[in-house]
């Protein structure tokens, strides 16, 4: 084995806080070989980003490296002076962060920005820098670099922006690239493009990559070796194939069992409990409190990292038992078939919702702008006692449709009919735990308010609030807490309890778990499914996570640019997929296991503007299967292809079904 490019040895980093030292990283050792991609997986608070910053020597001012060393190209980075570290940053080591928008200067063309890096770091003359900038853009799979270089960041899609940022990071010719959640927040299709570019980079540039992510499936796709961080400790390191086949640490095992798979056969098993507070680290194994395998010995003394097999190490006393225990199968019960499910609860008929656009006068004067057609003639229904899902890339109109369904928005045209006694029988749970609760109100008041509206007498309210908390598995002590004192998952539980307080018959779930950690996701999803049965309610679930939808939805609608392109039961739509767009979406989903027979379909370009959607089939500009003029000129209607299945595509359904 060649000497490692990056060698982190026994690194510990503490942050000084009011409650004493916060021990963000403890005794972390890992190495990255030249040209290797090392995936660092961990949930929020695991210390993965801290490690990235520590390598760049860019830690916050209250951070202190208490022990260890970081050797890079044979030198200890921790011992270098300010001038020396600046020579390494950007040139030998470059970092890319999650949000490309904040990494790019909105007032400069992207070509200029890359050239600037070259002029500063490489002291290249402007002319050579421009040519090199185009080369770099080409390296990250941007097909027309010259035209892309002339654009401003806002004129590029999110995936293009992130690739530009990566190109910029490559400008200094680094031997190590640190990518911190580079595809989080991107659509699956866009994520697939970026991941593909990152994969190609390894071949073409030969730089080593430290890939930091919370998403194990993404890491499985890009990394050669994987390290799993939990609460500041590296609990398992192994070559990728080995880790996913033989998970030796209970935490890794838990993470993989929490992750829903696309086949609907495994996942959504929550890891109970929460990470330890980093100011109060337990003596023994940090995971012991949440571990199914824990025994008395686990909590006595720190657990060392031991060798399991060639290149695989684990920090667990019971790893043999973990390896020997078979995987658990999925146990989320979907709705059982039921006669009640043919009765509609909500009917959406030819609904359109346009935003903005000018007045008639402005249009006549030629100053008009077109409205954004967020939802453009959509019809479907949600039946009693079912979970209906809407999927699609961002900007397809699924969120708008959800808000129309609970009457937070009025349709521009069409009807939304809700067959329940009261309008408030329709409730909504939102995506962002941070903004779904009023930050100035204690939990008890947030939950008490719906009860006031329902006319529950004052003396009963406290008891009912406690019941509501109990129904989302929180104890009565939460009544007096403020939202900022809760974790993301706890906030989401309170938000769910607030919606449940109205005893709704219908709940719109707008990406209810996408801002949460995988292990938390699983428990919230289970909670939601349990509550649905208890309330005998219907859900309209809006999600970009196809695996999750595969697990919990009964029926699913696929949206593209304001339209439904496919509608049917989960089996109809996913198993196997037939519409070209649905197939592209599914093939873009990163997965941990083997990919099966599904070919990878790369969608070119981004979603066109909803102000000016393409004529004919809206998907024809990106469709890999388009059959000719008819696609460009005639909009395909949503045709019924079986009792439960509708497809909008010009290609005959038999041909669609035969595609690989």
């Amino acid at each position: 084995m060649p000497p490692p490019l990056l060698d982190v040895r026994n690194l510990s980093v503490h942050f000084g806080t009011r409650e004493g030292p916060l021990r963000a990283l403890r005794d972390v050792s890992l190495s990255v070989a030249p040209g290797e991609t090392f995936g660092l997986a961990g949930e929020s608070g695991s210390g993965k980003t801290t490690l990235g910053y520590a390598i760049l020597r860019a830690l916050a001012r209250n951070a202190r490296v208490t022990s260890g060393e970081i050797r890079f190209e044979g030198r200890d980075l921790l011992g270098l002076g300010g001038a020396e570290i600046r020579r390494i940053r950007g040139r030998r080591i470059a970092m890319v962060y999650q949000d490309p928008k904040s990494a790019l200067n909105p007032t400069m063309t992207v070509g200029r920005q890359i050239a600037e890096v070259l002029e500063i770091h490489e002291r290249q003359p402007a002319r050579g820098a421009r040519a090199r900038a185009h080369e770099l853009l080409e390296l990250v799979n941007i097909s027309d670099p010259a035209s892309a270089a002339r654009r401003y960041p806002h004129q590029l899609s999110g995936g293009m922006q992130q690739r530009v940022v990566i190109a910029m990071a490559l400008a200094g010719g680094p031997s190590l690239l640190i990518l911190d959640e580079p595809t989080t927040g991107l659509d699956v299709t866009t994520q697939a493009q970026v991941l593909m570019s990152i994969g190609d980079l390894r071949r073409r540039v030969g730089a080593a990559i430290l890939y930091i992510s919370h998403d194990l499936a993404v890491i499985a796709q890009v990394a050669d070796r994987v390290g799993v961080l939990y609460a500041g400790e590296l609990v398992e390191v192994a070559p990728t194939a080995r880790l996913f086949a033989h998970r030796a640490h209970p935490y890794t095992r838990g993470l993989l069992e929490a992750l829903p798979d696309l086949d609907g056969t495994s996942g959504l098993t929550p890891i109970e409990g929460r990470s330890p507070r980093l100011t109060e680290i337990p003596t023994g194994c940090v995971f012991a409190a949440r571990c199914d395998f824990a025994e008395a010995a686990c909590s006595v003394a720190p657990v060392p990292l031991v060798d399991v097999a060639n290149g695989a190490r684990v920090r667990c006393l019971r790893w043999q038992a973990v390896l020997a225990t078979p995987r658990r199968a999925v146990a989320v019960a979907r709705t059982s078939a039921d006669a009640a499910r043919d009765t509609p609860l909500l009917e959406v008929e030819h609904v359109r919702k346009y935003f903005g656009g000018s007045t008639a006068l402005a249009r006549r004067l030629g100053l008009g702008t077109r409205p954004v057609r967020a939802v453009d003639d959509v019809s479907f229904d949600v039946r009693r006692d079912e979970t209906m899902a809407l999927v699609g890339e961002s900007g397809c109109g699924k969120t708008t449709l959800g808000r129309l369904a609970v009457r937070l928005l009025r349709p521009t045209a069409g009807h939304v009919r809700f067959f329940a006694p009261k309008p408030t029988d329709a409730q909504i749970v939102f995506q962002h735990p941070d903004s779904s609760l009023n930050p100035m109100k204690r939990v008890g008041r947030s939950l008490g308010r719906p009860l006031v509206l329902l006319g529950v007498p004052r003396r009963e309210r406290r008891r009912r609030v406690e019941e509501l908390l109990e129904s989302v598995r929180l104890d009565a002590s939460y009544v007096d807490r403020l939202p900022r004192e809760l974790s993301g998952g706890e906030k989401q539980r309170v938000a769910i309890a607030r919606a449940v307080a109205m005893s709704p018959r219908f709940v719109v779930l707008d990406e209810p778990v996408s801002a949460l950690d995988v292990s938390t996701q699983a428990s919230i999803v289970r909670l939601l499914m349990r509550l649905r049965r208890a309330l005998r309610a219907s859900y309209l679930m809006i999600s970009h996570d196809l695996s999750l939808v595969r697990h919990i939805a009964d029926r699913v609608g696929v949206m593209y640019l304001g339209r439904l392109v496919e509608l049917g039961t989960v089996e109809d739509v996913f198993h196997p997929p037939s519409h070209p767009y649905t197939r592209a979406l599914l093939s873009a989903v990163p997965r941990v296991g083997p990919r099966g027979s599904l070919a990878v379909i790369r969608l070119e370009g981004g979603v066109p503007s909803a102000q000016n959607p393409p004529a004919g089939c809206r998907f024809h500009t990106r469709c890999p299967d388009r059959i000719g003029r008819i696609c460009e000129e005639t909009e395909p209607p949503l045709r019924r292809v079986s009792a439960t299945h509708w497809i909008a595509c010009h290609i005959p359904v038999d041909e669609l079904r035969e595609k690989p």
Partner: protein
């Protein structure tokens, strides 16, 4: 200690001191502020008169202490008046948005375009000079600024998920505005009001200086400076004492307000 925390501390201590001295003025002041010691006119500071005396032989320390009451009542009162109008206006405009917001905000802009002191002068000219009218004038002049800030914070919260959730469970507009949005606007309002009190005191003193606010012989910093101006060449003490008091008070409110902004995380 960081500079910001130090400034906050200094501002806070100064503010407590000013408030305590002003509230306790009648008991702390060594003399009755309107008593004239005819034999001791325009005296420099001495053991008997710690800050000296004015042209009528009145004790400057006593007058400065008591004069602070008028200034604070005017400043705080005017800002409270500004809040009582500006907060509802800003909340309504920001929450409903659309045409209503356009109309209300253009009116507010028109008022902002008018120099505040000029506006105050106009109101007083129409109503006559008195402490009450000065308070009214400065209060009204504060409305547009407060309305703008409240509106902008409201606007940023209007689409917040907890506000949408309130709509989904059928809450009325008044509850959403005052029960959900207002508590989140409050920190910004408190900060803004604190800083505005300083400026309102200055505006009040300016009006009194022009003879349009507090009327002599009542002790007030503006009135004191106005009267001392004619004797500025004989003794500077009658001008310096209320001037410094005014300056310290305004700076104290400002430092405290800025520090509050950092602590409350207000916009």
């Amino acid at each position: 200690m960081k500079f910001e925390s130090l400034a906050f501390l200094v501002g806070g201590v100064a503010l407590v001191l000013v408030l305590a001295l002003t509230v306790l003025a009648p008991w702390v002041a060594p003399y009755v502020p309107t008593d004239q010691h005819v034999l001791d006119r325009l005296k420099p500071p001495s053991g008997r008169f710690l800050l000296g005396t004015d042209q009528y032989g009145r004790d400057l320390l006593s007058r400065t202490l008591v004069g602070g009451r008028a200034a604070l009542v005017l400043g705080v009162g005017a800002v409270l008046l500004g809040l009582s109008l500006g907060v509802p206006i800003g909340l309504t405009a920001g929450y409903f948005g659309g045409r209503l917001d356009d109309v209300v905000m253009r009116l507010v802009d028109a008022m902002l375009a008018f120099p505040a002191l000029l506006l105050a002068l106009l109101i007083i000219t129409a109503l006559g000079a008195s402490t009450g009218h000065a308070l009214l004038a400065i209060g009204v002049a504060n409305v547009p600024g407060i309305a703008r800030i409240v509106r902008s914070v409201t606007l940023s919260l209007r689409e917040a998920e907890f506000v949408l959730a309130a709509g989904a469970r059928g809450e009325g507009h008044l509850y959403v505005m005052f029960g959900e949005i207002f508590p989140n606007v409050l920190p910004s309002v408190v900060v803004e009001a604190t800083i505005r009190i300083g400026f309102a005191i200055l505006a009040g003193a300016s009006l009194s200086f022009l003879g349009l606010g507090v009327q002599p012989p009542q002790a007030d910093w503006g009135v004191m400076i106005r009267e001392a101006r004619q004797y500025a060449f004989e003794s500077s003490w009658p001008m310096v004492a209320p001037g410094v008091a005014l300056g310290v008070t305004i700076i104290a409110f400002n430092l405290f307000g800025d520090g509050l902004r950092d602590r409350l995380g207000a916009a």
